[in-house]
């Protein structure tokens, strides 16, 4: 079965700093999703990547999928306290409806 490993497991940064989160899959990714989890608010969809080499940006967050479709990164530019939370990468497997989850990366942004 497919496994997703996220690194680092947690990160504490000062406001204004840039940071990168990584997600590595044990198998070629069919679809890769980034979500953010805040307590009491469920999982908030950020971005979806499907094609090798694809890159998407939304506000100060950029997600990339490598050419081999086994690694993705999420980069936050000039982090703010509102970016704090748990960032999860999720993947679909071809022919299956279910999503496979990474364990998440807890981000703390100190003002």
């Amino acid at each position: 079965s497919q496994e997703l490993e996220q690194s680092p497991q947690s990160l504490i940064v000062q406001e204004g700093k840039n940071l990168t989160i990584n997600c590595t899959s044990s198998k070629t990714l069919y679809g890769l999703y980034w979500y953010k989890q805040k307590y009491g608010e469920g999982l908030i969809f950020l971005m979806m990547l499907q094609k090798g080499g694809e890159e998407k940006s939304h506000e100060k967050i950029t997600a990339k999928l490598d050419e081999k479709k086994q690694q993705s990164s999420l980069h936050i530019t000039a982090s703010q306290p509102s970016h704090a939370g748990i960032y999860l990468c999720l993947a679909t497997q071809g022919g299956s409806e279910k999503l496979v989850f990474g364990k998440g990366m807890k981000l703390t942004v100190n003002p």
Partner: protein, 114 residues
């Protein structure tokens, strides 16, 4: 903006009791899901539901679990006889149509079995 809602937010029950977790998916969505997250572990897929039947389920989803869409708006997860190890956060999700569409998640129900 439409969102998935779940009730209750927290539930405490005694081992062996039945619980029903409720979800209201986004109104025009066709695919529905339940996931769970045991404290400190990854979120795990339980079941997917489409066209009034289970389309896929995991090994976790044994005979103690059932899902239902009783009235066209609610989507429920029933655990017939709860065990201590059923204590977890349960997430409901829904999506509109195709395989590649995004799943939208509810805020979760935290279930504690004593």
């Amino acid at each position: 903006e439409p969102e998935v809602t779940q009730t209750p937010s927290h539930q405490v029950t005694q081992m062996g009791q039945e619980v029903i977790l409720r979800c209201v998916p986004i109104s025009n969505h066709l695919y529905f899901y339940w996931y769970r997250q045991i404290l400190g572990q990854k979120v795990e897929f339980l079941v997917s539901f489409y066209n009034n039947e289970i389309s896929e389920k995991s090994e976790i989803f044994d005979d103690q679990f059932s899902v239902e869409r009783p009235d066209g708006s609610n989507f429920t997860l029933k655990i017939r006889s709860t065990k201590l190890e059923d204590s977890a956060m349960y997430f409901c999700a829904s999506k509109g149509g195709t395989t590649t569409e995004t799943q939208y998640f509810g805020p979760g129900t935290r279930l504690l079995v004593l």
